[in-house]
Amino acid sequence: MKSSVITFPGSNCDRDMDVALKKFGFRNKMVWHNDVELPKNDLVVLPGGFSYGDYLRCGSMASKSKIMKSVINFANSGGMVLGICNGFQILVETGLVPGVLLRNKYLEFICKNVFVKINNKKNTFFKNIDEDILELHIAHNEGNYFCTNDQLNEIQDNEQIAISYCSKDGKIEDQFNPNGSIKNIAGIFNKEKNVLGMMPHPERMIDQSLSGEDGSLFFKNLINNIK
C-alpha cells in the first residue's frame, strides 16, 4: 500500500505520521507542499502541526498551497484522505469536510489522552476495528468543532460523524468533551466517507511504551482495508 504525507511549512507531526505508516506496512513518501503532482497513492495524509504558523486561521493558508489542488482532485475522485489535527483544520478550510474548528472552549491548549466512540464502521477507516471505544491522544488549541444547524442535520443524516469524545465506557456527555465541540465531535467524514478529518493523533499511540496503543488498531485496520 502506498501513502503520502504532505509537509507544509510548520507541519510538525509529519515525521511521526511517516513512522507510524511505515510501522504498519505502508510504503510512505513525504511530499512537499510546493509540489504540484501527487505520487501514485492509496492514501494521502495531512499531518498535524502549525502550517504557516496558523497565523491567519488554522489551516487556511495551507489549504491554498500548490499540492492541495491535487489532493482535492484525489479526494474528489474517491481517493482516501486523512487529516489529523492541523490536517483536519486544513480539510475544513478546503471544504472537503463540512464545519469549522474554533478555539478550545477554555481558551487553552490541551494535551492529554481522551476516549472516543466510533460512530460509524461502514467505511474503510474503521470497518474492521473490533473495539467501539478507542483511547487516543489530543494536542491542540483549536479543536472546537462547530457547524450550522442545517449542516449538523445533514452530517447526522449522512452518518458523517466519525468519532465523538466519550467516557471510558462510551458515554457521550458534556463532561467528557475536552474542547467544547458541538455534539462532542472529534472527527468527521465527507459524505462519501473517503475523507476523514479528526483531532486525535493515532500516530502517537502506536506502542506500549507510549501513552497507549489504540492508534495501532486504527493503522492496522487502515492497511488491511485499503484496496
Partner: protein, 730 residues
C-alpha cells in the same frame, strides 16, 4: 550623538568601565561602538561578576564532549549519539511581558541547541512566581504558561518536565528558566569558532527589527517603578519562523559547507559576530546595508543591538553561497552575505560606504571587565523554636492534606496539559514523574531529564542548598532508572553588588561544585542571571539544575505509580527526623528558622548507585525520591499515580510519627518490590551498606496508619489536584 561619560552611564556602564574603553581604543568611541561595548560588557554577556567563581566548577568527565563556553554542552551517549543541552534564564523580559518573555526564552534556548547541529528532542522549564495572593501572580503564571506552550507546541518539540514554585520573594521578579535537549551524531557537531580568511559571513532567518534593543542590558539591571517603560526591550517571538529556521539549518548542516555557526541571541548581531571572531582569533567585516531589515532607516546602532529573534550567523566555505541560498529560499527565509572574515582581528562595520565601527575583538572579549566582588559568608541559621508537644498533637491526615494542596506541592497538571508533551512520538515518561523521558529515536536507548531548585534550602544555608539541588537532580534521574551523566545550571540571584547576595552566589556555586564533583556529575553548560531584585530586595537564591541521564534499555524505565497490591514499599536512606526548613515546619508550624537538611554525599552516591543495581536486576516495580513533604507526601503521590493505597508503619525509631513522616532528610527514595524478592533485595542493600526501613504494604485504595488515622486515596487526590485548578479558574 556625542559620546561622553553620561551617555556611557545611561548605557549601563560604570565610570571606570567607560574610562577603560577610551584607554583600550585610545580614543572616544562613537555611539555605535559604545552600544557594542555596553552590550558585550554587561553582566548578561560578560559574566563579569561570576566568571571568577564559575571557573572552579567541575566541567570535565568521560562522557563530556563539550563543556561550558559553546552555545550548549554536549555529552556522549554511545553509538555515535550525543546529547546537546543547556538551560537559560529569561526572567526580566517575562516579568515585563510574560507571554513574549517566556516564548522567546524557549525559542532562544532551542536555537542554542540546534546551532550545534542537534535536533531538539525535549524541552523543560523551571518557573517561579510570587505569592499566590499577590495581585500579579495569576496573570504572570497564565502568560508564562501560554508563552512556553505557544512557542514549544508550534515548534513540535515535546515539553517533558518542569518545576513550578511560588514564594513571595519572586513578587517583583519572576523566574523563567528554559532548558532544551537535542540529539546529534557525534561527528556532526557544529561549533562557533570561525576559521579561514575571506570566508563569507552569512545572515539567515528573520529580518532585523527594532525589537529587543538593549534587551541584554535590561536583563543586567534591577527593576524599579518605571518597569513598564522597558516593554520595548522585550523581543517578540515567531515560532513558525524558528521552525523553518530549524529545518533549513539542519538541511544545510547535512552537507559540509558550514565552517562556524552561531545564533543571534542576547545582544544579537553584536555578540554573535564578535564571539565567532574571537574564538577563531580573526576579524570580521560587516556591511550593515546588506543586513535584511524589517523597518526603514535603521541606524547601525539599532541594527547591531536589535534582539530580533530567529536569526543565525554563519561562516560558510567560499563558493557554497548558492547551494546554501537554495535551501533558505525553499524555506522562505532571508539569506544574505553580509561580510567576510579578515585577518585584522577587528570588528569593522561599514554603513553607506563609511566605516562606522572599528574595534579590536580582544578589547570586547578578553579585556572585558572581571570583578572579584566583595561577598559575605552566610550567617549560620538561627535555631528553631519548635516544641515537641506542639508537633505531637497534630493530626497526620489533616497535615498531609494541607501539604498536598500547598501550591509548591500540589499537582501541576493544569500547567503541563497546556504543553504538547507527546509530539515526536518518543515520550515514554510525561510530566508529573521524577524525570521526563524520551527515547532516542529508533534505538533502545532513552534520555531522562529533570530540572530542580530548592530556593528555601539555599536561602537558609547557601552551601548546603547548592549541594542539595545537585543531589535532588541526581535522585530524580536515578528514580526513573537513568544513569546520571551531566548537568546544566541556571544561577538566579539578586545583585552581585550586594555583599549578601553575592555571598549567596559564591556559596551556592561552591556547594554545586562540591556535589557535582563528588557525584561525577559535571556541569557542561549554564547561565547566570543576576539583578533579580526590585528596589534593592533580591529574590531567594535560586540555582536551577537541569540534570540529564541515560537509560540503556528503555524497557527498564521505572515510573512512580504503585503497581500491585500486597507488594512492599521500602524507604531507602536513613530518616533522622530533620524538620527545619521542611514544608511542614514552614507552612504548618510557621517556623522559618533552622538549617536545611544536611547532605551526605557518600550516602547520596551509594544509595543512588545501589538503586540502579536493583533496577538493573529487575527488582524495583516503582520508585520515587523523597523530597518536599517527606515520606508520607512521596508515598501519597505514588498512591495517587497508581490508584492504590498503602498500610503504613513507622519503624521503632526515637523520633515521633510526625517527624518520621514529614521530615525532609536527604538521600532517600521509596521503592516498591514484591514480597518474594524482599530477602534478595535486603541482602543487596545490606551488602552495599545502604540503610532501609520497611514502610508498608500496598492495598486497594486507602492510606492507613491505624483505625483513627486513615483516608481514601481519592480524597487525597482531590487535595492534591484541586488547588491550582481552583486558583486559576477564580
Amino acid at each position: 550623538m556625542i559620546v561622553n561619560e553620561k551617555v556611557a552611564i545611561d548605557h549601563g556602564l560604570k565610570k571606570d568601565e567607560y574610562k577603560k574603553i577610551c584607554e583600550l581604543l585610545k580614543r572616544t568611541p562613537n555611539i555605535t561602538e559604545l552600544g557594542i561595548f555596553s552590550a558585550m560588557w554587561n553582566e548578561h554577556c560578560s559574566y563579569k561578576s561570576s566568571r571568577l567563581h564559575l571557573k572552579k566548577l567541575p566541567t570535565k568527565g568521560k562522557q563530556v564532549i563539550q563543556g561550558p563556553g559553546e552555545n550548549a554542552g554536549v555529552i556522549d551517549i554511545g553509538d555515535n549519539d550525543a546529547i546537546v543541552f543547556k538551560i537559560e534564564s529569561h526572567n526580566h523580559p517575562s516579568f515585563i511581558e510574560p507571554y513574549q518573555g517566556a516564548a522567546t526564552g524557549v525559542g532562544g534556548i532551542m536555537r542554542d541547541v540546534f546551532t550545534m547541529g542537534a535536533r531538539p528532542i525535549a524541552n523543560l522549564n523551571s518557573i517561579h512566581f510570587g505569592s499566590p495572593q499577590h495581585k500579579k501572580t495569576k496573570n504572570l503564571l497564565r502568560g508564562v504558561v501560554h508563552g512556553i506552550g505557544g512557542y514549544g507546541n508550534c515548534m513540535g518539540i515535546p515539553t517533558i518536565a518542569g518545576q513550578t514554585s511560588f514564594d513571595s520573594s519572586y513578587n517583583g521578579n519572576i523566574l523563567v528558566n528554559a532548558m532544551t535537549l537535542g540529539l546529534v551524531k557525534k561527528d556532526k557537531i557544529f561549533y562557533s569558532k570561525a576559521a579561514g580568511l575571506n570566508k563569507p559571513v552569512i545572515y539567515v532567518g528573520s529580518k532585523t527589527g527594532r525589537d529587543g534593543i538593549h534587551g541584554a542590558s535590561m536583563a543586567s539591571a534591577s527593576f524599579d517603578e518605571k518597569i513598564e517603560e522597558k516593554k520595548p526591550t522585550v523581543q517578540v517571538g515567531d515560532p513558525f519562523t524558528e521552525k523553518l529556521l530549524l529545518e533549513a539549518c539542519l538541511e544545510l548542516m547535512s552537507g559540509d559547507s558550514i565552517i562556524a555557526i552561531q545564533d543571534m541571541g542576547a545582544a544579537g548581531l553584536t555578540s554573535s559576530s564578535i564571539e565567532m571572531a574571537s574564538k577563531g582569533n580573526l576579524g570580521i567585516e560587516i556591511n550593515l546595508n546588506a543586513v535584511p531589515t524589517r523597518e526603514t532607516n535603521m541606524t547601525p546602532y539599532e541594527i547591531m543591538l536589535s534582539e530580533s529573534q530567529e536569526r543565525m550567523l554563519i561562516v560558510l566555505e567560499s563558493g557554497k553561497e548558492e547551494e546554501a541560498k537554495k535551501i533558505f529560499d525553499k524555506w522562505n527565509l532571508d539569506f544574505a552575505v553580509i561580510g567576510k572574515t579578515t585577518k585584522s582581528k577587528k570588528i569593522e562595520l561599514i554603513f553607506n560606504n563609511q566605516k562606522v565601527a572599528n574595534i579590536p575583538v580582544n578589547t570586547l572579549v578578553e579585556n572585558s571587565p572581571m570583578y572579584d566582588r566583595k561577598w559575605k559568608k552566610a550567617k549560620l541559621p538561627k535555631k528553631n523554636k519548635i516544641k515537641r508537644e506542639d508537633i505531637n498533637n497534630l493530626k497526620i491526615i489533616e497535615v498531609l492534606k494541607k501539604i498536598l494542596s500547598n501550591p509548591n506541592v500540589c499537582s501541576k497538571e493544569w500547567i503541563w496539559q497546556q504543553y504538547d508533551h507527546t509530539v515526536m512520538g518518543d515520550t515514554i515518561q510525561k510530566p508529573g514523574g521524577d524525570s521526563g523521558v524520551v527515547r532516542v529515536h529508533g534505538t533502545t536507548k532513552a534520555v531522562a531529564a529533570s530540572v530542580d531548585s530548592s530556593a528555601v534550602y539555599c536561602w537558609a544555608h547557601p552551601l548546603t542548598g547548592g549541594k542539595q539541588v545537585v543531589c535532588e537532580s541526581f535522585r530524580n534521574l536515578i528514580s526513573v532508572g537513568a544513569k546520571p551523566i551531566a548537568i546544566t545550571n541556571c544561577l538566579n540571584f539578586g545583585s552581585p553588588e550586594n555583599e549578601e547576595n553575592m555571598g549567596e552566589f559564591v556559596e551556592c556555586v561552591h556547594g554545586i561544585g562540591e556535589a557535582s564533583d563528588y557525584l561525577k556529575f559535571p556541569i557542561v553548560s549554564g547561565n547566570v542571571s543576576f539583578y533579580n531584585q526590585t528596589k534593592n530586595i533580591g529574590i531567594k537564591p535560586t540555582p536551577a539544575i537541569g540534570g540529564v541521564g541515560l537509560i540503556k534499555d528503555y524497557q527498564k524505565m521505572i515510573t512512580m505509580d504503585l503497581k500491585d497490591i500486597d507488594n512492599i514499599v521500602l524507604v531507602i536512606g536513613k530518616t533522622e527526623g530533620h524538620i527545619d526548613q521542611s514544608i511542614f515546619a514552614r507552612n504548618i508550624l510557621d517556623e522559618k528558622n533552622g538549617p536545611p537538611p544536611e547532605i551526605n554525599l557518600f550516602n547520596e552516591k551509594n544509595n543512588g548507585e545501589t538503586i540502579l543495581k536493583l533496577i538493573d536486576a529487575g527488582f524495583i516495580k516503582s520508585a520515587h525520591d523523597v523530597s518536599l513533604g517527606g515520606i508520607i507526601t512521596s508515598i501519597t503521590k505514588m498512591c495517587i499515580k497508581g490508584n492504590k493505597g498503602i498500610n503504613l508503619k513507622k519503624p521503632k525509631y526515637l523520633i515521633s510519627e510526625i517527624e518520621y513522616f514529614f521530615a525532609e532528610d536527604q538521600g532517600r527514595y521509596l521503592i516498591e518490590i514484591t514480597k518474594k524478592d524482599y530477602k534478595k533485595v535486603a541482602d543487596i542493600l545490606n551488602k552495599n551498606a545502604v540503610h532501609f526501613d520497611e514502610l508498608g504494604t500496598i492495598n486497594e485504595n486507602q492510606l492507613y496508619i491505624d483505625e483513627k488515622t486513615k483516608v481514601t486515596i481519592d480524597e487525597l487526590k482531590s487535595s492534591n489536584t484541586n488547588w491550582l485548578i481552583d486558583y486559576m479558574s477564580n
